[in-house]
């Protein structure tokens, strides 16, 4: 899961606090550096900013760095490679479940997965994917 997706999840867990509120709390003039982290697909977020966000959200900074390394672009590359070579992928989800199967398609918001043992296509939300392999 990308840092952006994780941040939005943490914001939701914190009662849906807005990025403007967080920006003010951590000493930013404007919220756009946080917004940028949330909408970008590549790895983004300076160390200092990530550190301040971790402090505000009461999370270990290593947790946020871990998510920063798992950008949406990296997930796309992984799925695309599997798609081209007809190889199965394993998706670990935020819900605690693990799904594995052949990717049928992917787009910017979701992944169509032919899950092993399931007759129907499963549409996995990209923002639910914590890790992959």
């Amino acid at each position: 899961m990308s840092l952006g997706d994780h941040l939005r999840f943490l914001r939701a867990m914190k009662g849906g606090v807005g990025t403007a509120t967080i920006a003010r709390a951590i000493g930013l003039e404007r919220p756009w550096p946080i917004n940028e982290i949330e909408v970008r697909y590549r790895e983004t977020g300076a160390d200092e900013l990530v550190g301040r966000l971790a402090e505000y959200l009461s999370r270990p900074v290593e947790e946020l760095f871990w998510h920063r390394e798992r950008s949406r672009t990296m997930l796309t590359r992984h799925i695309q490679h599997a798609l081209q070579h007809a190889q199965p992928i394993v998706l670990h989800l935020r819900s605690g479940e693990t799904l594995s199967g052949l990717p049928a398609w992917w787009d910017l918001g979701s992944i169509g997965l032919v899950v092993e043992g399931e007759a129907q296509l499963t549409v996995v939300q990209r923002h639910a994917v914590i890790d992959w392999g």
Binding site: V39, R72, L83, A86, S95, W106, S110, V123, Q125, H127
Partner: protein
């Protein structure tokens, strides 16, 4: 006495490229002149000068240079390859066919059942026909979606979780078909219902009890047509 351009060049033991480099005339032009095209009047003095002859000694239209005879037995020495209809399908062809079938929601097993044999036993010609059929089926499906006023409208939401191309197609199909879909949420809760509509960030369903519920996409982990949900009722 006038001579063919290629003969004068060969006397100098130059290649076409070497003559081109010496004279400043493009190699392609020289090649064409040697095949019989009339030499441009502007190129004639340049060629004559480096070849050490007077311009009028070069034929303005050379007789085409005879081709070298192929060494005897060259063709025979090459190992004979089987005719295309007998050559086995390539790995790439098989992978491509599997990928197309998956896009149509079919597993490899289902595909092999349709084909009637393992895919790697197909010949190149046979698999080409299957590839053509599957490509046409995908094209037809896209056309059907595009013809639907609701399906034709594609929007790309600003936030990453928004409905994008493939998901839009999938949701449109399920809404039209009226299949019950089971949604699994982040907290493990499951809801089953028929899709009434959807927007960039939410999907509204009606459960069997008649309740309408709007699910925020951010709360959804995954979804699929409910078991047995695609069977006719």
């Amino acid at each position: 006495m006038q001579q063919d351009l290629w003969r004068l060049r060969q006397e100098k033991q130059w290649t076409v490229n070497e003559l081109a480099a010496q004279s400043g005339v493009p190699a392609l032009s020289i090649y064409e002149y040697e095949q019989g095209r009339a030499v441009r009047s502007a190129d004639l003095p340049k060629l004559a000068q480096v070849l050490g002859v007077r311009p009028e000694e070069i034929k303005t239209q050379s007789a085409p240079k005879p081709r070298k005879a192929r060494p005897a037995g060259r063709t025979a020495a090459r190992p004979a390859s089987p005719a295309p209809e007998l050559q086995p399908a390539t790995t790439t062809q098989v992978q491509h066919l599997v990928a197309l079938s998956i896009r149509l929601g079919e597993s490899r097993e289902h595909l092999e059942e349709k084909v009637g044999q393992p895919l790697d036993r197909l010949t190149r010609v046979e698999i080409s026909r299957w590839l053509t059929d599957y490509a046409a089926a995908i094209k037809e499906r896209k056309a059907q979606i595009a013809a639907d006023p609701a399906g034709a409208k594609r929007w790309r939401a600003h936030l990453p979780e928004g409905v994008d191309g493939y998901e839009l197609t999938y949701l449109t199909e399920q809404r039209k078909a009226g299949h019950p879909v089971t949604f699994t949420l982040f907290d493990g809760q499951r809801l089953t219902g028929r899709i009434l509509g959807f927007g960039p960030y939410s999907i509204t369903i009606r459960t069997d009890s008649g309740t309408e519920t709007t699910l925020q996409k951010l709360a959804i982990a995954y979804y699929a047509v409910a078991a047995g949900g695609d069977e006719p009722t």
